[in-house]
Each structure stands twice: as C-alpha cells, then as structure tokens.
C-alpha cells in the first residue's frame, strides 16, 4: 500500500486487485468535512516530488498521455495534448483550475472540492510543474470557496508546494465556466467569452499560455502521477479509460454524485442511485447542453462517448437527469431553454434573439398554444454556430433531441392533451451530495 516516506514515488501495481476498483476520487469517509492535509497524505501518499528539468516534466506528461485522460468538464479534450500545447508556449504559463460548475444541475465539482480539495490542488500543482507555471488560480463555486481556501492555506503553512496557489470565486453564471469566459473573469471580472482567436493555450490570461482544466480532471492527474497510466486504464474502456464523476438527479431514489468507471451501462448507473423512484419517461444525458433519450433505448448503452453516440448523446459533464413519465418533457425543456436563454452572455444577436425566440416557441408548445414547427426548426438552424461561443449550439442540440424524444407528447399537445401530472421543475433542483 502507500508509504509515508516523503519524496518516494509510490507505484501502485496496476495488476493488483485494488487497481480496477472504485472509488478513486471520492473514498468513503466517516467524519464529515474535507480531508485535512495529513489525512490526505496518509490515504493517497505524498505528492510526487518534482524532478529537475524538462525530462521529468515530459515523462509525467507522457504518463498522462498514456493514461488516455480527457477533460472532465464536458469537452473531453485529451489532457496531455493540452498540457503539451501550453508547455510549448513562449511566455511563462499559468494554470487555472475550473471548479465553477456553472451547470446548475451538476454537483460533481462542488462535491469533489468539498470532500477532496487536496486531491484537486495536488493535480493543479502537478499541472503547473508539467507546463512550467509558477502560479495556479483555482476558481470555484462560492459554495465551496471557504473549504478550498482553507485547504490552500493549510498547504501554504506546510510549505507543501513550490508554486503559488490562489483561490477565488467564480461568476455564478452558466457561461462563466467556458474557457475564454473564465480567463476573462479572472483577468477583468467579466465572465464573457471572447470571439477572436488566438487559443487560450497560446495566449490567455495576460497574453500568457494558459492551461484551463476542470477540477475533476486535475484530481485524476494527481492519482495518475502516483499510480501510473496502466493503473488508470484498469477501469473504463480501452478508448475511454478511467473513472468519472456523475451527478444523478430527478426521479431516483437516492439522487447524488457518484463515481463510475466509464462505459458502465446507463441502467447500472441509475442503480447506484437506488434506481428510479417512478416509471421513467426520458433521460437527459450530459447536462443542459446534453441530449434527451428514451430510457429503454439508453438503458443498455455504456455511459461513454462511444456508447451514447447510438442515441446521439455524449457523457458531457456527467449529468444524468431522470424524468418521470408523468412529468411533461416539453415543459421541462421549455424551462431549461428559457433559463439558458437568460444565461446568454448577450454579446451576439443570433444567440440573444434566437434563444429567446426558441424559448418562447417551446413555452407556447408546452402550454398548448399555437406551435409552428417549421418556424422553430428555422430558428434552431439560425441560432447554432453563429455566436462567439458554443452556448447557442449547445441549446439547439438539446432542443432538437427534445423534439425527437417527445414527439408523441407534441402530438398530444396539438390535440389539447398533456401527460404531465406534476408541476415542471424536476430538472432545476440541484441535488445533495452522496453520503
């Protein structure tokens, strides 16, 4: 198991029985509150000490590359490629850990930060070493800011890191977690995406190469550095290795945040939350930018990008929302779309007006008022891809999937009927964290 010798790199045998087991990021704990630094080191072992020079950095990046780790914030970009891009920059890079979790229904980042802040900070510091940055900025949701700041202070007192770690609150906006919006927020206090290139990895904060990584991704990095790529790959699928955190909400017996190996069938994932509390009508997979799916079709599919592509979905930010059959999917979609329309940065016409019109059309549809499908489809086509960021595109994708999955409901509404027996609002309630 782990030793307490400082500076000794512990390799956890990838072939041992512990390798393919969960949990990795969220071990069960008896006492409430986050793990302190000592307890953290006792459980995971010390952070691998940075070696000197580029060779150590490149070896660690290669390890991350060999693990196949991809971003856990929703975009799924290969982490090693990002690290290399930032490390190759000319000016001194900087690392921004993204724990803002702008998606209101997702709770995994908050839970991770609240319970294992040191794992995230380990990963952030390691990322800084790998790209050659001297500073890490951790941007978190205000709900967990104090905890994370306390963990950073604890590390500072223990002189645990050779890089500066600063913790700040994120803007509480949906768009605020987008990479360029995050940089804009840290630099100027304005959580708005910017339209123009260059890429953030070349020129981000203060024009320096900037690494923006989701906090869960960084937590995985912290474990890969300790246990190696092969250990990481002992869970998950060959093309999508490792574990991920999922937020399970809606008509489930025990909604909350859980950790799964990627590729676990969707119905098994729902069983982690003790299964559906009522017969299900639809699943929203990925997040508010995700895709609606029929539960019977999605149930046997592996929860992975490859598996979910069969229903046109992807794991996204790890949200699975279970809609009961007696809840009107069109009303839920209209609510979410109206929320997302309001969360537009307001900089681009097709997004501001397009999403507003689309939300209005969905509200009319949900309320049983007149609905013109051709007009809605035209608006969907006009809103996507014509803004400075992916906000409108994400909404369009979600709405299109709703029109497909709730086709029968649309017909019912046209005839004046609705399946809904309870008020809409299943999706907007953030869950409590798993015990």
């Amino acid at each position: 198991m782990n030793t307490l010798d400082r500076g000794e790199r512990v390799r956890h045998d990838a072939d041992s029985p512990e390798a393919g087991r969960l949990p990795r990021l969220l071990p069960p704990r008896i006492a409430g509150g986050p793990a302190g630094l000592t307890e953290h080191i006792a459980r995971y072992g010390p952070l691998p000490a940075p070696g000197a020079g580029a060779l150590w950095r490149e070896r660690l990046i290669a390890e991350v590359g060999g693990s196949g780790l991809t971003g856990r914030g929703g975009a799924g970009f290969p982490t090693a490629a990002k690290l290399r891009a930032v490390a190759a920059g000319r000016d001194a890079p900087i690392v921004i850990a993204n724990g803002t979790e702008g998606e209101p229904a997702s709770a995994k980042d908050k839970v991770l930060l609240a319970r294992e802040p040191h794992l995230v900070l380990d990963g952030a510091v390691l990322a800084a070493h790998m790209v050659g940055a001297a500073q890490v900025i951790v941007v978190v949701h205000e709900a967990v800011r104090e905890l994370v700041a306390a963990a950073a202070t604890e590390r500072r007192h223990a002189r645990a890191d050779s890089v500066k770690v600063k913790v700040m609150t994120g803007a509480n906006r949906f768009v605020g977690g987008e990479a360029s919006a995050l940089v804009n927020w840290v630099a100027h206090g304005i959580p708005l995406p910017i339209a123009t290139p260059p890429r953030i990895s070349e020129s981000g904060l203060d024009g320096r190469p900037t690494l923006v990584q989701n906090v869960e991704t960084l937590a995985h990095v912290a474990l890969i550095a300790r246990h190696g790529a092969r250990w990481f790959r002992s869970l998950g699928t060959p093309t999508e290795p490792g574990s991920m955190l999922v937020t399970l909400i809606g008509a489930l017996n025990r909604p909350g945040v859980y950790e799964i190996g990627i590729g676990t069938p969707v119905r098994d994932v729902l069983e982690l939350a003790a299964g559906p509390a009522a017969p299900l009508g639809a699943l929203l997979l990925g997040g508010y930018f995700g895709t609606w799916a029929d539960p019977a079709a999605a149930g046997p599919l592996p929860l992975s990008a490859e598996g979910l592509s069969a229903v046109g979905a992807s794991p996204g930010a790890g949200l699975v929302a279970a809609l009961p059959r007696d809840c009107c999917g069109l009303a839920e979609t209209a609510l979410v779309t109206r929320y997302l329309a309001g969360e537009s940065a307001g900089q681009c016409g097709p997004c501001v007006f397009g999403l507003d019109s689309i939300a209005g059309a969905l509200e009319a549809l949900a309320a049983g008022r007149s609905f013109q499908p051709a007009r809605l489809r035209r608006w969907l086509g006009q809103a996507e891809g014509r803004g400075a960021c992916h906000h409108p595109g994400g909404v369009v994708r979600m709405v299109r999937s709703a029109l497909k999955v709730f086709g029968a409901e649309i017909d019912r509404h046209a005839r004046g009927w609705c399946c809904g027996r309870r008020p809409a609002g299943t999706l907007l309630v953030p869950p409590r964290a798993a015990a």
């Binding site: 971003g71 856990r72 914030g73 929703g74 975009a75 799924g76 970009f77 850990a97 993204n98 724990g99 803002t100 979790e101 702008g102 998606e103 997702s106 980042d109 949906f174 768009v175 605020g176 977690g177 987008e178 990479a179 910017i194 339209a195 123009t196 290139p197 890429r199 923006v212 990584q213 989701n214 906090v215 991704t217 990925g286 997040g287 508010y288 930018f289 992807s314 996204g316 930010a317 900089q347 681009c348 016409g349 097709p350 997004c351 007006f353 397009g354 019109s357 035209r378 608006w379 006009q382 891809g385 014509r386 803004g387 400075a388 960021c389 992916h390 595109g393 994400g394 994708r397």
Partner: protein, 90 residues
C-alpha cells in the same frame, strides 16, 4: 490577393444588425429573422471580391473581415474543438 482562397467572416460580438452588408452583397449575405447576417461559408469567388470588400468597408461596426486561412467552420475556428463544450470545461 487574387487567386487565393478567402472567406468572409462576421465577428458576432461586434455585429449590431445594421444590415448594410446584406444590402450591398446579397449574393453571399442574407439576414436571419432578427436582422443579423448569415454569411455563406464558402470561398468568395474572385468576381465577387470587390463586392465583399465594399461590404467590409461599409460595415459601421467593422464586424466583417476577409479571412484567407482555410478553415472548416466558424465554431471550429473560434474554439478549435470538435464538439460543443460543457459549462465547466477543462
């Protein structure tokens, strides 16, 4: 530079739906339901270059430009990503 490929691009943040571009270059610019320009994502033919340049010059917000790099799509250019990103990306 004639002979090289060039695409007309709108800066969606600068654009304010003034509509002058669609008036002078209707061959490749139409307006959506809210008055904002939809630019054909195609190479601007050499014969239409001068009309494109006039649209660029006339835009009161300087929101149009001629992009000479070969690029797949606006969203790909802006973010370099393959698929839509989530709200906590990284």
């Amino acid at each position: 530079m004639t002979g090289s490929s060039a695409r007309l691009r709108v800066n969606p943040i600068a654009c304010d739906a003034r509509g002058l571009c669609a008036e002078v270059f209707p061959e490749m610019i139409t307006l959506d339901d809210w008055g904002f320009p939809i630019v054909l994502d195609q190479d601007v033919p050499t014969g239409l270059r001068s009309a494109a340049e006039e649209a660029i010059r006339l835009c009161p917000r300087l929101a149009l430009r001629l992009d000479r790099r070969p690029v797949r799509s606006i969203s790909a250019e802006i973010s370099g990503r393959r698929e839509p990103a989530g709200p906590s990306e990284g």
